[in-house]
Symmetry: C2
Subunit: 326 residues, 2 copies
């Protein structure tokens, strides 16, 4: 990218090149190192990501979204084991702060997932830490790219589905699975909150509990109220993730959905949207630092707002008026 008069690239450049190479050949340790660069917001992360970007585009990216307590992590673990049985490499990215993968763990969950942690065909990362520069959505997409370039077949992204970051993340997956549980008053609330429109597949987990069929009926009814489905009608899959019941059905639904969006052109649309969001997210962060650098009187502008001589909205407008576009 950058031009150097010295033919021998500096050490950091070598590191990035070597790391990219090791990553593409699927080295687990390189992957862990690369993720660390992103987490530390190391300056070399962007160059690494640019380097490996052409090797991306093969992984299936599946979102698993639902309220805390719906059993998302158990479902993710169950799916991961299923894919491992097919010798597929599985990435797990936990964005939900209450996910057992994040550490908000009940001991039983941890034990159930222990074998995943020691399997080199599984890469687990929690993104629920504070302060990713450039945002959680960008960091999540970057890690998806790393996993993709490292030859991971499937990346499962676990989110609560609320908040701008998470909505951005959901908009960048290929298939979104919404997980509900029977007998919880918040199912209908979640549906009201708009989760209905983002679900490509609905799972009624803990389906051995009373009320599972009622939840299925409720989802079916709510679905009939949603105007726009295109030609895909989201299936409803019953699972008991703790015993892996229904995992195969869920995988079948995911495969079917992927084939559908591939043939209908929806996959292209989603991939485009993913790229658009990624470019814009990066742009926003870079714009702010550029503008700040070009605004020596930023503090005076800030003072005006602080002392009510101006308001945040008009201050932003005035600052933006200083930037001109080609």
């Amino acid at each position: 990218m950058a031009e150097h008069s010295d033919p021998r690239p500096p050490a950091s450049e070598t590191l990035v090149t070597d790391l990219a190479e090791a990553l593409r050949s699927g080295k687990y340790r390189a992957l862990a190192q690369a993720v660390s660069l992103i987490e530390r917001d190391d300056g070399r992360a962007d160059r690494l990501l640019a380097d490996i970007y052409p090797a991306t585009g093969r992984a299936r990216i599946v979102g698993i979204t639902g309220s805390p307590g719906a059993g998302k992590s158990t479902l993710v673990a169950s799916l991961a084991k299923y894919y491992r049985g097919q010798d597929k490499k599985v990435g797990i990215i936990a964005v939900d702060p209450t996910s057992p993968f994040t550490g908000g763990a009940i001991l039983g969950d941890r034990i159930r997932m222990a074998d995943l942690y020691t399997d080199r065909g599984v890469f687990i990362r929690s993104m629920a830490t504070r302060g990713f520069l450039g945002g959680l959505a960008k960091a999540t997409n970057d890690v998806v790219d790393l996993l993709d370039a490292a030859g991971f077949d499937i990346v499962l992204v676990e989110t609560v589905g609320v908040g701008q970051d998470e909505v951005e993340i959901i908009r960048t997956v290929q298939t979104n699975v919404v997980v509900l549980v029977p007998g919880m008053g918040d199912d209908i609330q979640a549906i009201k909150a708009g989760i209905m429109e983002i679900g490509d597949i609905f799972v009624v987990n803990k389906a051995d509990r009373p009320g599972a069929d009622r939840t299925v009926t409720e989802v079916t009814m709510m679905m009939s109220l949603v105007e726009e489905h295109g030609d895909w009608i989201p299936p409803i899959v019953k699972t008991v993730a703790s015993t892996s019941q229904g995992t195969e059905d869920l995988d079948a639904a995911i495969v079917k959905h992927f084939e559908h969006i591939q043939s209908s052109g929806e996959l292209d649309r989603r991939n485009r949207e993913r790229v658009r969001i990624r470019i814009e997210t990066t742009l926003k962060e870079k714009f702010i630092s550029r503008l700040r650098a070009a605004t020596p009187d930023f503090n005076a502008i800030l003072d005006d707002v602080l002392h009510k001589r101006n308001n945040p909205h008009d201050a932003a407008e005035a600052l933006l008026a200083r930037a001109s576009f080609e």
Copy 2:
């Protein structure tokens, strides 16, 4: 703001002026209408916010942060009732998607909070819906402004404390209360995840449970490891929110913290930070729409990234290079 040759302002302008006036005089219905404008991202919301901005700055803004299940909402309800006993007006903004205020309610919680819902001195709003244009943090700050201008004395903002939006929200409150519960393995994890540094006050809720004193000890120990506290040592308050036990102590801690940051200059610093974040958040959104309008070949750029001829990072850089700053 805009100039009109017709001396009679158009209907929408009258609406904003009237609404701002009604809001400043504390009319509950005006407040509800104004919040709706923000939620719908109505074009008039910005003008209304600019209009009422000079009337802001009196409310105390308190964040209540903690994992789902920690009892934040019950604590918020208990604080709200306490303030109502002092005839203070209380705003409650629930950002946590699992908050009973949001609808993820257990029936008992709802009943416990029922009297708050019918009290015109309490305004409750859940922000846990998808798709606030300009982001959840911006919308939350805007609603805080409305409550502030409407004469609300205290605004309690309930968050999980994870994700960029929520971290942004926490950075804009005056006092942040971190809620922990005894006997949950995730306490220490939450602390590790950085919650330690954001707490001005720690609450060990459900303090009638076994292990409460151990949690207090753990927090005290972790606190000694945090390098930077300034001259404020966060107190640890034990509460049983469901019986209002400890609520008075918590209020006392909040008052004490406010007096401390007021006299130490930290309040000014936080208010400045709040203004900075608000300006920058608005700037980012406006920049993107401006840049898009000035980039007719945006789709071609997007195609290049989609087909791996370019990567998102370099595409963003190239786009940014088209904007010039005074």
